[in-house]
């Protein structure tokens, strides 16, 4: 009994996240049913989402998640999920904003693709939009790159929820400057829209702020 313990010496190598084959293809994000989100390699490269050394001034970009009906400039457009490509240094960036660093080298302990992010906001959105059903383990969201959305004056006050403290759950907003937003939909839906363009929601390249 317990013969497997014979002669065993333990070595603590720290918590190791098992590398996952989570990375989707194309300019996409994969969101799992538990809210974990992983970007594709193409997306990481295109938008400089990778974590950099702690001492590097250029921290790269993360992603803000917006429900278009909650944001005044887009409230009257067909409902969509919008992703804003935002410097990681800004406050309350939803995805890929923070990581843990090696204390000696200052290098990130994992890549953005292996670490991923967890977003309750995005999970609730893909559920409510019907992109991720209870039967699915995950869905892949593709960015509509051909219709980037910018603000006329460069200023976007995007909706956020307070996540901690006494006011948890209350609405607030964060200011962003010169951020480009993209609509997302599932890879399957977008492929279908390409073959039947009538179903494509209208999108504008510039959003009026009033």
């Amino acid at each position: 009994m317990y013969a497997f313990l014979q002669g065993l010496t333990l070595k603590d190598t720290g918590r190791q996240r098992k590398p996952k084959e989570n990375s989707p293809l194309g300019f996409t994000l994969r969101i799992f049913a538990n809210g974990e989100v992983y970007p594709s390699k193409e997306l990481v490269t295109k938008f400089n989402l990778e974590y950099t050394n702690k001492n590097n001034e250029n921290k790269g970009y993360g992603i803000d998640v917006i429900d278009s009906v909650d944001w005044t400039p887009t409230a009257n457009l067909p409902r969509m999920i919008l992703l804003g490509i935002t410097p990681k240094t800004e406050a309350k960036v939803d995805l890929f904003a923070t990581c843990r660093y090696d204390t000696e080298t200052g290098n990130p302990k994992s890549t953005v693709i292996t670490q991923g992010s967890t977003s309750e906001t995005l999970l609730n959105l893909v559920r409510s939009m019907g992109y991720l059903t209870e039967d699915q383990k995950y869905c892949d969201l593709e960015l509509v790159l051909e219709h980037p959305i910018t603000m006329e004056d460069g200023i976007a006050n995007i909706p956020k929820l307070i996540e901690k403290g006494d006011r948890k759950g209350e609405k607030t907003y964060e200011r962003r400057e010169n951020v480009t937003f993209y609509a997302v939909n599932t890879v399957e839906n977008l492929a279908e829209m390409k073959t039947s363009p009538v179903a494509t929601p209208e999108a504008t390249t510039t959003v009026e702020t009033n």
């Binding site: 005044t72 400039p73 907003y173 200011r175 400057e177 010169n178 702020t209 009033n210």
Partner: protein
């Protein structure tokens, strides 16, 4: 007049200097009034738009007791003039377009800052730079009715009920935001300090004390 409180649908209607060289920031209400609704409403009808001029006075080189401020105090005094103006500018344009050069035309350097800030000529030039640069940078946006703002005004002091712009900790406690921010998500709130000191109150109660008739009669009796 616009009183102490949180007011929607305002625009910066004026940025100018008065004859003393003091910056005047004029704020005006732009909410559309439906004349039929207004005339059918109970009570008197007022079609006048509320407006208010705010005088942004030069910073002082002394504290409340009249003692000279140290260098850090002087810098803070300058910031309390500049920061609210910067906050207003940020509602209309991005940080990269807001360029201050408040020491322009002075001899201030990092090495002589402490000495130079004590000089009245330098001090006055810094204020005039802030005023002139703010007016120049605001020029495209003055009177812009297409981008109305929600603004919070605090009481000047316990004794003075006139409204003023908040001057400190503006990143966490802004006093202005665009109306595109839904009211439910607004960051315009009175701070604990302001609430505890009645700086959210527009009326004169708690300020210059009104003497009651009974107290006046009692006082008069003491000398009769």
């Amino acid at each position: 007049m616009i009183s102490v409180g949180i007011h929607p649908d305002l625009v910066i209607a004026k940025t100018t200097k008065n004859d003393q060289g003091t910056l005047v920031v004029g704020v005006k209400e732009v909410a559309e009034v439906n004349p039929l609704d207004a005339l059918n409403a109970s009570g008197s009808v007022n079609f006048n738009k509320k407006e208010q001029d705010f005088l942004i006075y030069p910073p002082k080189q002394t504290n409340f007791d009249g003692a000279s401020l140290d260098t850090e105090g002087l810098m803070k005094a300058i910031a309390e003039v500049k920061d609210p103006l910067h906050t207003i500018l940020r509602q209309y344009t991005t940080d990269s377009n807001i360029k201050w050069d408040i020491f322009a035309g002075t001899d201030v350097t990092a090495a002589n800052l402490a000495e130079e800030l004590k000089k009245t000529s330098t001090w006055n030039k810094i204020y005039s730079n802030i005023v002139d640069q703010f007016i120049t940078m605001m020029k495209p946006y003055v009177g812009e009715t297409g981008k109305p703002m929600r603004m919070l005004f605090v009481r000047q002091s316990k004794a003075k009920h006139f409204p003023k712009l908040r001057t400190r900790f503006l990143d966490s406690n802004p006093f202005i935001e665009p109306m595109t921010v839904p009211a439910a998500a607004s960051k315009l709130k009175y701070t604990k300090y302001e609430l505890e000191n009645g700086l959210d109150k527009a009326d004169s109660v708690g300020g210059a004390q009104q003497v009651s008739k009974a107290d006046a009669q009692q006082a008069e009796a003491l000398f009769s």
